[in-house]
Each structure stands twice: as structure tokens, then as C-alpha cells.
């Protein structure tokens, strides 16, 4: 085996890790050069997290070799991993919102005067200088909670880098980020890379891997299924390596819409949307897109009663919609799939059964007011089968399922209420490639039952695949409608409209 290569920041050779009953990693080799971004791809449960837990010293490995800058570490604990320069920046950053940026930068190691008082001047000055070194120009006195998610991530990466981290693991860093901030984050990563820092980049968004990574390694069921320079792979073969099957894009066939189900006339809410007129017909899937904060998300949350609705007219199946809280919306058969799955979608500690039946318990009660267990299990079992939710049993806590299966369970919960209008807010966020396709198939099938579906998303290619029409929002107004039956919608046309350019060409098409 010989000595390690000193040019490699990290070298993991033939790592095997066995958990009781499961071979989580089987002979996995993975390395990161100094000054590169190495993407790690794979479905949830493929072994990415386990591999990273080994690198950060959280788990011991059973066999293989782990070298960091040429030095072998037979046993690595979290403290040693940190000391030799491995840092993890998790999706949910570990910041303290109520403290200033400066205090967060120093993470508790505040400079003290001789008498034990905090030396604020010095701290603010040093924090500003440190951040400036990484190209971040921020007022460090501001409270952390006033920063954007992208700024937080950059601050956290910077913080890891001053702690002498040479390898930073970015775990799904862009999932909580609005689109335009992703570019900023990537720019930041590239700049630090040029300074010699290495990054391990974990993401479900393949486009991002192509954009930011130099190399990619794919894991599947604990084995490496491919590793190469990014310029030598295509998206198709990357998907093949990840899922082991050729995942095809799900393309919905054109459908003939029925009667109007959701009708919105002149709806306005200040600072959210303005004079919205839109109709979704039975069996139709309509995409709603735009820049972050341009209106579609607020509209969906407003309709469902999570936010105020504003003034204007809303009809469901021709009847005036009585706006109130979500329970009122569900009674009027309007359902909403939240963007924030962990915050609003699932009750993590409860079983799949409890989660799926949550909105329809009233319907499942018998004359004694008891929830009929048999009917409940049948209902949940049917949805597990129809939607293809992969779970050891319906009694498994939903937190133990993969993101895609959690999301399917949330869809099942909504479908069980038999909605007429189904609004989906970023339905494929944070789920793997295969689950994305399955979710789109489910959406299509629900629409075929006559449900009027609205999909709020910035995954443009998915919208094109699944929607009959796509409405583009700009600063709270609908500025453009694309119809699949009259034109070929492309991401380029959509992007132009999203940025606010109403091009002559697509108008004519």
C-alpha cells in the first residue's frame, strides 16, 4: 500500500464499514486533491453520510486506510479530524441567531481584556478583517438572524477555514438557498478553492455538480459506482451511476382540461402579489414560477391559510372560497404541500401511518368516535402501494424514511383528503433523482382524477415536463403565460421571462 500521496488532501482507501446487519460501505476508495471541489453523489442511504461521518471522526471504520495530507489515521475522533483540518458545513448551519456576526465568527472564543471584559472593538475589527480576507464585506455588528441563508453559509465556511480547515464538506448547501444566492455561494467556493482549500460537495442537484465540481464520485448501496473528472461525464451517465437504472424524464402527455376548478380574480396582497387572475381547470397541471419572493409561494400559502390572502375573489368549483386557516381550506378541498418538509410537512417522530391519516381522522371515526383501525390501515396501506412509498412498515417513524419517501407520504396525506385543488410548493426539493420522477408521476396521476394542480417551483425542466401551462411571476404579478399546446417551452424562454424580460419572440410563438 505504501505511503500516502502528499498532494492529496484526503485519501480514503478501500474503506469498509459494517453496521449490524448492513454493509454500509464496501471497499470504498475516495480522494480529494488540494484545491479541488470533489462532488459526492448518490441517493439517500447510498453511504455518503456514513463516508463523511468516518472522515469527520464520528464513526470508526472497520477496514481500509484513511490518510489526511499523506498521514495515516487508523483511528480518528472528531477532535483529531477537526485538528487536521476537516470541517463539515451542514445544511442547517450551526449559527446562533441572537448573537452578532462577529461573535459567531469567533464561535465563543472572544478576546478578553486583562480584567476579563470582552474587548468589543478588537473583536469587531478582527472579525471584519477576517471576513474581508474571504471577500465578505459585512457589518459584523449585525445580528446573525438578519443575514440571508447564503451569507450564513459563507460565514460558516469562512469560519471553518480560519480554524485552519483544509477540507470543507458541504452537505446539500444549496437546498435552503434561493436560486440567485446559489451563484454567490459558488463564486465564493471557487475563490477559496483558488486559495488552495478543498471541498467535498454533496448534492442532489446534478446541474450544480456540473457547475461547481472538478470531479465526481458516485456511491450506490455502499459501493463506488463511478468516479471521474466532471468533464468526462454527462448528466445521463451520472444519473445511471446514481440510480443503477436509466431514469427517464417523466413527461406528461397533453390532456384536455375540464371545467374550471380554482378561479382567482383580481387578488392582491400588499408586498406579496398584485392583481392575480388565474384559473386552473380540472385535470390540469399549472406551473407557477418566478424569482424568490416574486409571488407564487406567497399565493399558495395565502390560499391555504398559512398567510393572509389579501383582497379579491377566489372560487372553487364555482363557489366562493371562504378563506381561513388550513383546516378550513381542507374542508373546502384545497390542499397544499409545503416547501419546508421538516417544518410543515411531517411530524418526524410519528409513524408513517399517523402522518398519512392525520388530516382525515374525522372521516375514519366510527359512530363511537373511535378511529377505525382497520379502515385506517387499509387507507394508509393503499397509499403506500399506489404511491410506492418505501418503508419497512407503516408503523416506522417517518424520520427514518428517505426524503423522497417522506415527501410521498406527505402527498398521500393530502391525497387522502380528496382535494379538488392541490397546490405543491417545491415538491421535489431535497429528494433524489428517482424519487423526483416518481413524484412527478404521482402528480400526473392525481391530475387525471380531475384534481386541479398548481406547482410552485424553480425547477424549470421539471415544470416543462409536467405542466400544461406555466405562469411566470415577476414582482408579484403574472407577466407571462406559456402554453404547451401552442408552443414548445424551453428553459431559456422561461428564464428570460423570470428575469423580467418579456421577449418579443416568445410572444409571437
Amino acid at each position: 500500500m505504501g505511503d500516502g500521496n502528499p498532494h492529496l488532501a484526503v485519501e480514503m482507501r478501500n474503506i469498509t464499514k459494517v453496521f449490524p446487519g448492513v454493509r454500509a460501505l464496501d471497499n470504498v476508495s475516495f480522494n480529494v486533491k488540494a484545491g479541488e471541489v470533489h462532488a459526492l453523489a448518490g441517493k439517500n442511504g447510498a453511504g455518503k453520510s456514513t463516508l463523511m461521518h468516518i472522515l469527520t471522526g464520528l464513526y470508526p471504520y472497520d477496514s481500509g486506510e484513511l490518510l489526511i495530507r499523506g498521514k495515516a489515521f487508523g483511528k480518528l475522533n472528531t477532535a483529531t479530524a477537526k485538528a487536521v483540518g476537516i470541517a463539515l458545513v451542514a445544511q442547517h448551519t450551526k449559527i446562533i441567531p441572537g448573537l452578532s456576526i462577529a461573535e459567531n465568527v469567533f464561535a465563543g472564543n472572544l478576546a478578553l481584556s486583562r480584567y476579563g471584559f470582552v474587548e468589543w472593538k478588537k473583536i469587531y475589527k478582527e472579525a471584519t478583517e477576517r471576513l474581508a480576507k474571504f471577500g465578505l464585506d459585512l457589518d459584523v455588528r449585525r445580528l446573525m438572524e438578519t443575514t440571508s441563508v447564503a451569507e450564513r453559509q459563507m460565514i460558516e465556511i469562512a469560519r471553518a477555514l480560519f480554524a485552519n480547515a483544509s477540507v470543507v464538506i458541504l452537505d446539500e448547501p444549496t437546498a435552503p438557498l434561493p436560486k440567485h444566492d446559489v451563484a454567490k455561494l459558488f463564486e465564493f467556493v471557487r475563490r477559496q478553492k483558488a486559495q488552495g482549500s478543498s471541498f467535498i460537495y454533496i448534492s442532489h442537484y446534478l446541474e450544480e455538480i456540473f457547475e461547481v465540481a472538478d470531479r465526481v464520485t458516485v456511491l450506490r448501496n455502499g459501493e463506488v459506482t463511478g468516479s471521474s473528472a466532471i468533464k468526462d461525464v454527462t448528466q445521463t451517465n451520472l444519473i445511471h451511476m446514481i440510480s443503477g437504472v436509466n431514469v427517464e424524464r417523466y413527461r406528461r402527455l397533453p390532456t384536455k382540461p375540464g371545467l374550471p376548478v380554482l378561479e382567482i380574480k383580481g387578488l392582491t396582497r400588499s408586498n406579496a402579489y398584485h392583481d392575480i387572475n388565474l384559473t386552473i381547470y380540472a385535470g390540469e397541471v399549472v406551473g407557477l414560477t418566478g424569482l424568490e419572493g416574486s409571488g407564487p409561494g406567497s399565493l399558495a400559502r395565502g390560499l391555504f391559510g398559512l398567510e393572509p390572502l389579501g383582497s379579491g375573489k377566489v372560487l372553487i368549483d364555482g363557489k366562493a372560497y371562504d378563506h381561513g386557516d388550513p383546516s378550513k381550506a381542507l374542508r373546502q378541498r384545497l390542499a397544499y404541500l409545503p416547501r419546508d418538509r421538516h417544518g410543515l410537512g411531517i411530524v418526524a417522530s410519528r409513524s408513517v401511518r399517523d402522518n398519512v391519516s392525520l388530516s382525515v381522522l374525522a372521516k375514519l371515526q366510527n359512530s363511537l368516535g373511535l378511529v377505525n383501525g382497520k379502515n385506517e390501515r387499509k387507507l394508509v396501506g393503499d397509499y403506500i402501494d399506489v404511491l410506492g412509498i418505501k418503508t419497512p412498515s407503516m408503523e416506522t417513524a417517518i424520520e427514518n424514511l428517505s426524503g423522497g419517501n417522506q415527501q410521498k407520504a406527505v402527498v398521500a396525506k393530502l391525497a387522502a383528503t380528496e382535494p379538488r385543488v392541490l397546490l405543491l410548493d417545491e415538491p421535489t426539493q431535497g429528494v433524489d433523482v428517482q424519487a423526483k420522477v416518481e413524484l412527478l408521476r404521482i402528480v400526473d396521476e392525481l391530475s387525471k382524477r380531475g384534481v386541479a394542480v398548481g406547482v410552485v417551483s424553480d425547477e424549470l425542466s421539471e415544470l416543462i415536463d409536467i405542466c400544461d401551462r406555466i405562469l411566470v411571476f415577476y414582482r408579484g404579478s403574472i407577466i407571462k403565460e406559456f402554453r404547451k399546446d401552442t408552443e414548445t417551452i424551453t428553459t431559456a424562454k422561461l428564464l428570460a421571462a423570470i428575469e423580467g424580460e418579456i421577449s418579443e419572440k416568445s410572444d409571437a410563438a
Binding site: G45, A348, L370, V371
Partner: protein
Amino acid sequence: MQRDIIIPIILDNLIWFILAAVFIFFTIQSEHFFTSTNISNILSAAAVLGVLVVGQTFVLITGNFDLSSESTLGLAALFGIWLIVPAVAPNWGGGVLLNPYLAIVIILAMGAAIGYVIGVLITLGKMNNFIVTLAMLLILRGLMLAFTEGNATSGLNYPPADIFYWLGHKVAFEIPGVVKISIAVVATALVFATGHVILNHRRFGRELYAIGGNRQAAVASGIDADLRIRQVYMISGTLAAFGGWMLAGRVASIQVNLGEGYIFTVMAAAVIGGISLQGGRGTMLGALGGVLLLSTIDRGLNLMRVSVFWIKVIQGLIIMLAMFVDAQRVRYRAPSAEKAKPLETKTTDAE
């Protein structure tokens, strides 16, 4: 892999294994422990605690606290007596001479009303549940002191106040030489059974778990969380008043400190029984285990003639020990969530 099956069974039912161990320990230590009288005493003592714990469990499952229940207990008992007895010393009576049955209904309604006020302050007033119920704990106890000026009421075993004595003392049935079961024990058993059915088999109970597990997700699933929270406080208040009826009857008098300090035991029993203070986790059966364990320990220590000066220290240590064991249980389980992920991939590929 037998270990994988047995250990979770023990962990899930840990409270009952501990209870059994404690039982065996005291039986060895004291010949008076495993006797008919003593078992009857443990059950009777557990009855009042149990009623309060059921109420508290409902509140805890939604992720809230009700610290006020011990004061509600005292005030309800006092008010009940005031409604029933003549206005002569030594009894603290209002001279209303109300029908005792009606008086009981009124004090239960009073408990519910106190719970409703707390619920409104928390849900509509957007106030912190800990502080609201702490303030209520002081207010209600203060009212009791103010009304009685510190005087106690006794003679609850004579008419017309004997409706208290009936619940607190009357034997429902007896298995000769084995155990005497009081009406209080039967009532508490019914309260537990009803609580269990509501939590597991009614929409109401199932929604409480969702609210405690993730309130925002529960709301987004169409659950009226605010309404449910007002309702659980009403349940807790009603059961606290019921507990007041029972406890006053058991001690056959009402001191101004009736029930004072009880809330610590109530919380301890619930938590030892596996009810999470964060909400969303725990079962009525577990809470029952917690109640029996604390009552058994209390009685056992008395029999072992542990000095009263040391009993609180020992109780505190036992609660800490139980929490330590529980923390280990969480730690043992934590990696299993990690394990579940790779397993799941296997099922994906089996298709």
C-alpha cells in the same frame, strides 16, 4: 440476532422492569411490604397522583405544561366543602348547603373553567405556558389562603361532606386476604383507561401527538392546535378538581396546603413514565407505570423506616437515576435511525 429483539422489548417496557425490581427489593427489605394492607395503601396513594398525571399527560403530549393543577386541586376541594357544609366552626362553610352531588359537578366545572382561562391566555394571549400556569399556581393557592385565612376544614367523614369521604376512603370491593380496592382506585383506573382510549383511538388524542411532535405541521394538516390546547388544559383542570375531591376525602380534612408540592411528583411520574417534556411522545400506560413506581418507592421507604429528613433526597436521586436510564435508552436508539437508511436502499433495489 436475538439481542436485537430482546433489547428493544426491554427498552420499550423499561418502567415495568424497574417497577418489578423495586418491588422485589422492598419485599426482601421489609416483611411488611408485600402484604394486603400495604398493597392497598400503595394503590390508594397512587390513585390521587394518577388522576393528576393523566391530566398532565394530555397537556405534556401537546408540548405544554400545567403547573397549576395542584392549586386547582386544593381550591376545588375547598370550594366544594364551602358549598356543602353549614356556616359554623370548625368547618369553613358558606352556608349554601347545596346538594353534594351538585357541588361536585360545580367544582369539576370550575376546574374546567380554570383550564379554559389558562388555555385562552396561552393560545389567544400568546403567553408562555410555563409562566401562565406558574402564575395560576400562585393565584389559586393565594385565593385559598385569602378565603380561609389559614383555617383548616375537617370532618369530611360526616354528612353532608361525606361525599368526599366516600370517594377517598370507601372500599369498592375486597378480595379477602389479598387486597382491598377503594372506590378511588377504581375511579383512577377508569380515568387511565379512558385516557388511554382517547389518546390512541380518538381523533382528538391522535391530533395531540401531532401538535406536540410538530405544531406547524399539525396546523398545516388542518388541525386546530389552539382549540386542542385549550381543551387539554380543560381536561387537566377538571381532573385536578377531581383529584381534589379524592385527596380531601382521603385525608378527611382540607388544610390550606392541600396538594401543595404535588406538582413535582406529578411531573416526575409522567417523565419517568416516558412522557416527553418536548411533547409528542409517551403513552398513558407508561404514565401509569411512573405513578405506580413513585408510589411504591414512597411507601417502601416509609416501611424501611428511612428518616423523613432523608426521604426527599432519596426521591430526588431516584428521579435522577430514572432520567439517566432514559437518556441511555435514547442514546442506544440513536444509531438505529442511521442503520435504517442503508436498509431502506436494499428494499428499493429489491424491486
